[in-house]
């Protein structure tokens, strides 16, 4: 399946991305680490990485992923917008 403007994604990921490794596959992805929670609650860190949808075979919850040299456990995936990109949520190994 192809997405409108998908060809621009490669340039964007190459410019801003970091290496994302799943098994023997390596792609570029954009790493985000943000704080989750409201004032008066425990605030926790949420890491995620944005990759092209379908770029990584067997990407699913429970998979081990190396992002920019650090190991994570995939805790879920969300296909975003028109579906061209997937946000991969990351937890500690």
């Amino acid at each position: 399946m192809s997405f409108y403007g998908a060809s621009d994604l490669d340039a964007m990921l190459a410019e801003f991305g970091v290496p994302v490794v799943l098994g023997s596959q390596t792609v570029d992805g954009i790493l985000d680490i943000s704080d989750v929670g409201d004032a008066g609650e425990l605030i926790t860190k949420q890491a995620s990485v944005l990759v092209k949808t379908g770029a990584l075979k067997n990407l699913k919850e429970g998979a081990s992923l190396d992002v920019d040299g650090k190991s994570y456990l995939v805790t879920g995936t969300d296909q975003l917008g028109d579906g061209a990109t997937t946000q991969v949520f990351l937890g500690p190994v």
């Binding site: 704080d35 989750v36 929670g37 008066g40 609650e41 425990l42 605030i43 926790t44 860190k45 949420q46 890491a47 456990l73 805790t75 879920g76 949520f89 990351l90 937890g91 500690p92």
Partner: protein, 151 residues
Amino acid sequence: MPPIEAQENLIVDVILPVLQGIGTPPTNWLTAPTVVYGIPGDSIEPDTLFLAPLTCVFNSEDDELDGSGFRGSATRVHFALWAAAKDVRTAFNLLADGRRALWAASASLQAVAEYGADWIDSIEIDLERSRAGFVLALMKFHASPVVSRTA
């Protein structure tokens, strides 16, 4: 007469050391958490999850009603115990240890909260953070001190 410390603070002075003793012998605890009073300003790193912070915070205060609905001269001082863990099972174990610690403090707490202590109001699980590899569990409880009428 020396000034009397606020009742809320007196209660915290009793329960905090007991909670901070979770994980230490001779009691066989399920967990060995880091215990912090108040909500930390900084966010918790996933890499430090194994520490399973347990947080105690003062929530609010209201009038105590007796069984017939009349307002008494006791208040309810509410607290929340936050437990952060990597999984639901560990989060529940943290709260179980917290509960045991509070029960163990009952006698001491009675001295500053005459109308009873450690009543569990609710237990909630926040699964919103599960994608960050966290489970947050929240146990709300209260103690009921008599309002001081000393001028």
